[in-house]
Symmetry: C2
Subunit: 123 residues, 2 copies
C-alpha cells in the first residue's frame, strides 16, 4: 500500500509551487530547507514514482541536466534561455501546434514545444 510520508508531500509541494522546471538537485535543495535530513536518493525515488504516475513531467534540453515540473495538464510549451540556461514554462499553448503532416504509420499521442532564446532577466 502507498503511504503518505512527510518527504513525499514535501517534494510534491516543492515542484508544485515552483514557477519553472527544477533539476533534481534544486528540488532536493529546496526540500532540504524545510527538512534538512532528507536524502538525495529519496528525492530521486519520488521523482521517478511521480513521473510514472504522470503527476510530474520531465523536461530537458541538450547539454543541461533534466528538469521536472508539475503536470497540470496543459503546459507543453517551454522556453530555454541560452544565456542563463534556465527553463520556463509558458502558458498560452497554441492550439494548432501538432503538425498534421506526420509520415504514414506514425501515431501521435502528444507533443511538446521548446523555444530557445533570451529571457527577460538576461535581456
Amino acid at each position: 500500500m502507498k503511504r503518505n510520508t512527510q518527504q513525499g508531500s514535501l517534494i510534491l509541494e516543492v515542484i508544485k509551487s515552483a514557477k519553472r522546471p527544477l533539476t533534481p538537485l534544486e528540488i532536493h535543495q529546496r526540500a532540504s530547507n524545510m527538512y534538512p535530513r532528507i536524502g538525495i536518493a529519496t528525492t530521486y525515488r519520488h521523482l521517478k514514482a511521480l513521473a510514472e504516475k504522470n503527476r510530474v513531467v520531465g523536461v530537458d534540453y541538450p547539454g543541461q541536466p533534466p528538469r521536472y515540473e508539475w503536470a497540470d495538464g496543459e503546459d507543453k510549451v517551454h522556453f530555454a534561455c541560452r544565456s542563463c540556461d534556465k527553463l520556463f514554462a509558458l502558458k498560452d499553448t497554441t492550439e494548432d501546434i501538432p503538425p498534421a503532416k506526420v509520415p504514414k504509420g506514425f501515431t501521435v499521442q502528444g507533443f511538446e514545444v521548446m523555444l530557445y532564446g533570451v529571457c527577460p532577466e538576461c535581456e
Copy 2:
C-alpha cells in the same frame, strides 16, 4: 589550428549518414566498426565540438540518453516512440509552429517540437 583527422571525419560521417538521432554510444559503436581503436572520449570530444559549432544538434527526451543528429538546417520536428524509445527526425517542418504569443520580454531565436506516440515498427 584545427586539424582534419580520420576520427573526426568518421564521427561526422556516422552522424551525417544516420537516418535518426543517435546516442553517443551508438555513434561510438558505429565508428568502431570502421576504426576499432577509436576511444569513447574522442567521440565525446568531437560531439561537444560539433555541437558548439552547430554542425550537429542535440535532441533528447526525458528518461532517455541524449541523442545527436546532423544539423541540416530544417529538422526541428522529432518523433519519440513510446514503445521502442527510438527517436526519428521528421521532415515536413510546419511553418507556423513558433507561437507568436510569448510573454513580454522573451526573445525567441529558435524552437524544436517533439511528438510522442507509436512508430510504424511498433504499431
